[in-house]
């Protein structure tokens, strides 16, 4: 398998990363090197093996549906790039 420049641009768009033509070209070579390594996986038959998603065989805990956190929005918004009247500001998305 080998990626092409269009693949890199498509993935970058999905990942919301702006890439220039030069960056995409440089990254393409690196990604193909890495996927060369990753392709070693395909040589192994894994028929009948259950995927392992987690190191411990645990079940997620459930908790009571009660309020556990106080209101700290001012503190949390103090590190936001742009805030007004308790709201996070972003460029207009609806005309």
């Amino acid at each position: 398998m080998s990626l092409c420049l269009e693949d890199v641009k498509r993935i970058a768009h999905l990942a919301r990363l702006a890439v220039s033509e030069d960056e995409a070209t440089e990254v393409l070579g690196q990604l193909n090197g890495i996927f060369g390594l990753i392709e070693e996986m395909q040589a192994v038959s894994t028929a009948g093996i259950d995927p392992m998603s987690h190191a411990q065989n645990v079940v997620l805990r459930l908790r009571e549906d009660v309020v556990s956190e106080g209101d700290q929005h001012e503190l949390f918004q103090s590190v936001a790039p742009q805030v007004e009247a308790g709201l996070y500001l972003v460029p207009k998305v609806i005309e």
Partner: protein, 489 residues
């Protein structure tokens, strides 16, 4: 004071021969003097640390001190600490001051431990050399031309240069053990789920685990006693009764069965590392341990498996950095999409972007089964290999890293070569097992060799016992790089 163990420092504090303020001042002065050489710390806040030290001294005067009260410990800059800049080695978080404490920061605080500062690291813990940090590389105290390893390179260098008595780290694919090995210190990655990840900035959530880094196994045990424990705020935290990880330190190790995986002594491991490890194994034999060859046939596959799973999880975890709620936002943009794309492109460095791209690709439509699912199936095979091996031995030993510290720049242009250097550590994360690295002498050019001890699930106390007994029989862990052993007058 440079080589004093945590127990010895605690005894000095307890006997009032030393105050926490004096101890903290000593290390702050040393950081001021030596950090420009090593770049191990990214944030030092003298007044905050000294205020904590004063509070610790007052607590001791009231008779309320716990064992580590008043001892300064450096925190990897991946742990959120309220009021402290918490950058994760990234431009993305270079302006982030945490509004809350990570659980382990809270635990250290409750124990009266002084936060000595935040240590440098590979960006978002993605790297094996500390060269991906936005704040510049860390230098190895044993050889300034060499990398300290990564991603907890700042913590490892800080302990090795004796800028801190101990530090914290995190380990997703070897990020505690490999820098510990390359810097000649001790570090433990506990069993997945033993230490809370709450407030620890996420990289690959099914693999990330925090642990201590220190001069000796005995110190690691005392630090782990503070760090480990159930936390309802981390959904992967395991509900287990508290343990005293120091309980078995002094037990003899005669009769211990050591498994030696043939794959860990194969081609590709440098001769000086093999020599150091074989000498360490010989020391264990002299202590009455037996050795048995074990087989970990899927070792080689752990690299591709890891470099699918970790980037996939990272691409999901790092989606949160969108320039809206915290972190870097581009100065110029045309619309929301442009703001996302530019903020992320500017905020992340090259290695983080590569991993996000790999992860996004392997999770994208049509590729999930071939990559992510296949990697998860192979992960089970890798875990199964360890389970089989532990039927024949108590612990597994081998090199932590196939080479000693490499030179800065030697691998930074070639991601594949960098990834291959993680071969002996990442399988342990995939299986979720605990692993330790301890110093085992020196290879070529005086660069430290690290011995890895892998245990079965929850065998930390036993592994620390094994490491401690080795450190009773050897003194590699007490060696200090030339020129750094000088105590101030």
């Amino acid at each position: 004071m440079l080589n004093a163990s945590l127990s010895e420092l605690a005894a000095l504090l307890d006997a009032r021969k030393l105050s926490s303020v004096e101890l903290t001042r000593f290390f702050l002065d040393r950081i001021e003097q030596l950090n420009p050489t090593f770049n191990a710390f990214v944030t030092v806040r003298e007044e905050t640390s000294l205020a904590q030290a004063r509070a610790a001294d007052q607590r001791r005067a009231r008779g309320e001190a716990l064992l580590l009260t008043g001892i300064p410990v450096a925190q990897k800059d991946i742990f959120c600490a309220k009021g402290w800049p918490t950058t994760c080695g990234s431009r993305m978080l270079s302006n982030f001051v945490s509004p809350y404490d990570a659980e382990i920061v809270r635990r250290f605080d409750a124990a009266g431990v002084v936060n000595l500062g935040k240590t440098n690291m590979d960006e978002f813990a993605m790297g094996s050399s500390n060269e991906t940090s936005f704040f510049g590389p860390v230098r190895n105290p044993w050889s300034p031309a060499a990398v300290p390893g990564g991603s907890s390179g700042g913590s490892a260098a800080a302990v090795a240069a004796r800028l801190a008595p101990a530090a914290t780290g995190t380990d997703t694919g070897g990020s505690i053990r490999q820098p510990a090995a390359l810097c000649g210190i001790s570090g433990i990655k506990p069993t997945y789920g033993v230490v809370s990840r709450y407030g620890m900035i996420a990289f690959a959530s099914s693999l990330d685990q925090a642990g201590p880094m220190a001069k000796s196994a005995a110190d690691l045990a005392l630090l782990l006693n503070v760090m480990a424990g159930f936390d309802a705020r981390d959904s992967t935290s395991l509900e287990r009764p508290p343990e005293n990880y120091a309980r078995d330190l002094v037990k003899p190790v005669a009769g211990l069965r050591i498994g030696l995986p043939k794959q860990y002594f194969a081609e590709g491991v440098s001769a000086d590392v093999i020599r150091g490890i074989e000498e360490a194994i010989a020391a264990f034999r002299r202590l009455g341990c037996e050795t048995v060859e074990v087989d970990l046939p899927n070792t080689q596959l752990s690299i591709p498996v890891y470099y699918v799973l970790a980037p996939a999880e990272a691409s999901s975890n790092l989606a949160r950095y969108d320039g809206v709620r915290y972190g870097h936002r581009a100065a110029q943009y045309t619309d929301l999409m442009d703001m996302y794309q530019k903020s992320r492109a500017e905020g992340f460095g090259a290695e983080v972007k590569r991993r996000i791209l790999i992860g996004t690709y392997v999770l994208s439509h049509g590729y999930y089964d071939a990559y992510y699912l296949q990697a998860q199936k192979l992960r089970r095979l890798i875990a199964h290999d360890f389970a089989e091996a532990f039927k024949r031995c108590d612990v597994i030993m081998g090199p932590t890293s196939p080479t000693t510290a490499f030179d800065l720049g030697a691998k930074s242009g070639d991601p594949v070569q960098m990834y291959l250097s993680d071969i002996f550590t990442i399988a342990v994360n995939l299986a979720g097992l605990p692993g330790i690295s301890i110093p085992a002498g020196f290879g070529d050019r005086g660069r430290p060799v690290g011995l890895q001890i892998i245990g079965n699930y929850f065998a930390e106390a036993r592994m620390l016992n094994v490491a401690h007994q080795y450190q009773q029989a050897t003194d590699w862990h007490l060696r200090v790089p030339a020129g750094l052993e000088v105590e101030p007058a």
